[in-house]
């Protein structure tokens, strides 16, 4: 699977317009030297070898963790990705946790108090939150909290270059809120419908007939609704990354998304390829995770004869 994706990316890079060696050499180099320089660059990049050999070389170095060097910053791509991973994980992780902390109780309450005001309000808010593009929401957020109220920063991770935890948290508030709202909106709906399905099951009525109170019955339903939820959660992560990319861009958050978009503008192929591989690996891991989690959580699968 991984091999297929690697081949696909390689082919894609080959199809790209323009010669990477050309772009490597400054345009203003002397006309006579330029051909020499391009040739040298081509040899250096291995572009003079037959295509299959190039692939093997590329794939070999890929397996060693060597993703080549950025055209623009000349940093090793692998290192660049690693550097950018931290802020992105921090952003996504906090938003995911915050979003779920909102979604779980709200979804449960909406299901238990079905067709009440709470349910309708939660439903309306989540539909609106799903329909509003995250970058537009982010712009609204900046406009209100950074521009008008001047209570929150509009961009970056720190004011100074210092790593100060308080400052970091302060900078996290807006981007995390924007992302968490999207998470909360999506999962409130999942949890609500999962809970409704479980609450309608016969076993819930049987638990109430045993003399259980509403809390105990709800917990039984929640445990059962978790089973499909964990797989949905695992499969949601890649989609969530795209939300993070957008938000990073607008808040100048120094994460992978910002890196990818900058690379996109300057056509930094190695960085884009590295990012593509990263996304592909993430998708595969999340799919695997979904399968594994499913067998762990559901006793019907776990104890199958």
């Amino acid at each position: 699977m991984f091999l297929i994706i690697a081949v696909g990316l390689f082919v894609l890079v080959r199809l790209a317009p323009g010669d990477p060696a050309e772009t490597l050499v400054p345009i203003d180099a002397a006309p006579g030297q330029r051909e020499e320089l391009v040739k040298a660059a081509r040899e250096q990049l291995g572009l003079d070898k037959p295509v299959p050999v190039q692939f093997v070389l590329w794939f070999g170095s890929l397996l060693k963790g060597d993703l080549g060097y950025s055209f623009s910053t000349h940093q090793a791509v692998g290192q660049l990705l690693l550097d950018r991973l931290g802020p992105t994980v921090l952003l996504m992780g906090s938003a995911l946790v915050l979003g779920l902390l909102i979604a779980i109780p709200v979804g449960i309450i909406a299901a238990v108090r079905r067709d009440t005001f709470v349910d309708a309000a939660a439903g309306t808010v989540s539909v609106i939150a799903l329909a509003i593009p995250s970058f537009f929401l982010a712009m609204l957020g900046i406009y209100v909290f950074a521009v008008k109220l001047r209570v929150l920063p509009s961009a970056g991770m720190y004011f100074s270059g210092e790593s100060d935890v308080g400052d970091l948290l302060y900078h996290l508030i807006l981007p995390v809120s924007v992302l968490a709202l999207a998470v909360a909106a999506a999962f409130t709906r999942y949890i609500r419908s999962g809970m409704l399905e479980q609450l309608g099951q016969d076993y819930i009525r049987a638990i109430v007939a045993k003399g259980a109170g509403p809390f105990r019955a709800t917990m039984h339903a929640f445990r059962n609704s978790l089973i499909p939820l964990v797989t949905v959660l695992a499969l949601y992560i890649p989609a969530f990354l795209s939300g993070a990319v957008v938000v990073e861009q607008i808040f100048s958050w120094p994460g992978m998304g910002q890196m990818a978009v900058n690379a996109l503008i300057v056509r930094d192929y190695p960085v884009i390829t590295g990012f593509g591989l990263y996304v592909a690996v993430l998708v595969l891991i999340c799919n695997l995770l979904a399968d594994v989690l499913y067998t762990v959580v559901d006793p019907r699968v776990r104890t199958a004869r």
Partner: protein, 332 residues
């Protein structure tokens, strides 16, 4: 009935909200359950027999309105209890067995734990070991072999018949006075049904629990129940001892029901089919609800205009028919 009733329903009336209107689902349901007896409630789909059971413990859909005169149980009126008090009766003093054993157990909790839970809800100070001991005792009583190990399995590892026994064990674990069994064997095969009915009868014999057995199957009733409540269109039409009912019923509906069964006829004979279909609860006839389908020779104008009440006949049997004292002939 010589024994004092443990449970007595008096004029239970239930409205359910469908769409914008309330529809009357139960009309003035009245009957007693004696200690230690097996009483059958029989009726076709939509007759209200399941709703009657659910009304007793108030396990009703959210938009239900119970306007019972009284559901008497141990000196209290269940219809007037607050939720917290009601919970002390549910599962503790009145147990419940549902129709489909495949769906009444929580699929992600071990069977034994679910029975333990039923015990521990009502015995909060009881330890795990004590609860498990009770659970195993009940599982053995209802005939689950190798209870100790099977209790650690999940419901999907149990067959339907075994699961229904587990549900019965769960209903019995707090030593209740009454068990409400709502079509407990309908989803099961004949040979398995026989085993489960045996388990219910053993519970009655050994624990002295009264069983309210709700079923559409007159055969099951005739096999295990000592008395029968016949329901039609949300009301009780007849209450009789099982033998009397089968030999000489006092209501044309009960009579027709008994005779519409193939087992009551010789092979190939036309069966007694009740023409038409039960009325819609939202659109009950003004008189006797059964009048439009009734084939009794005594049927008269009175049946169409005046709704008969459940009253004793000359020989003391309860029937909701204006002509309860006439012999009920069944016309094919």
């Amino acid at each position: 009935m010589t024994a004092a009733p443990v449970l007595s329903l008096e004029g239970v009336t239930l409205d359910l909200k469908t769409g914008d209107d309330y529809v009357r689902i139960l009309r003035d349901v009245t009957f007693d359950v004696a200690a230690g007896e097996i009483i059958g409630i029989v009726g076709e789909s939509g007759s209200g027999k399941s709703m009657t059971a659910l009304s007793i413990l108030q396990l009703l859909p959210p938009k239900a309105r119970l306007t019972a005169a009284r559901i008497g149980f141990d000196g209290a009126d269940l219809a007037g209890l607050r939720p917290a008090e009601l919970r002390k009766v549910r599962g503790r003093r009145i147990g419940m067995v549902f129709q489909d054993p495949m769906t009444t157990l929580d699929p992600v909790v071990q069977v034994g734990r679910q029975i333990d839970e039923a015990y521990r809800i009502h015995h909060p100070r009881a330890g795990r070991a004590e609860a498990r001991e009770k659970s195993l005792a009940m599982l053995r009583l209802v005939g689950v072999p190798d209870a100790q190990n099977r209790a650690k399995q999940y419901p999907h590892q149990w067959s339907g018949g075994m699961r229904q026994r587990a549900v019965i064990a769960m209903a019995l674990v707090n030593d209740p006075e009454v068990i409400l069994a709502d079509e407990p064997t309908t989803a099961l095969d004949a040979t398995i049904q026989a085993q489960v009915l045996d388990a219910l009868m053993r519970a009655r014999d050994e624990l002295g629990v009264a069983v309210v057995l709700i079923t559409h199957d007159l055969g099951v009733i005739s096999q295990v129940a000592s008395r029968v409540v016949v329901m039609y269109a949300g009301g009780v039409v007849e209450i009789a001892g099982t033998r009397e009912l089968f030999a000489d019923s006092r209501h044309p509906y009960s009579a027709a029901l008994i005779h519409s069964r193939p087992g009551a006829h010789r092979r190939g004979e036309p069966l007694v089919a009740i023409p038409g279909r039960p009325p819609l609860m939202s659109d009950l006839p003004a008189g006797c609800p059964f009048a439009p389908r009734c084939a009794s020779p005594y049927k008269s104008e009175r049946c169409v205009t005046q709704r008969p009440a459940l009253e004793p006949s000359v020989d003391g049997r309860l029937s909701a028919c204006h002509y309860r004292d006439e012999p009920q002939e069944v016309i094919a």
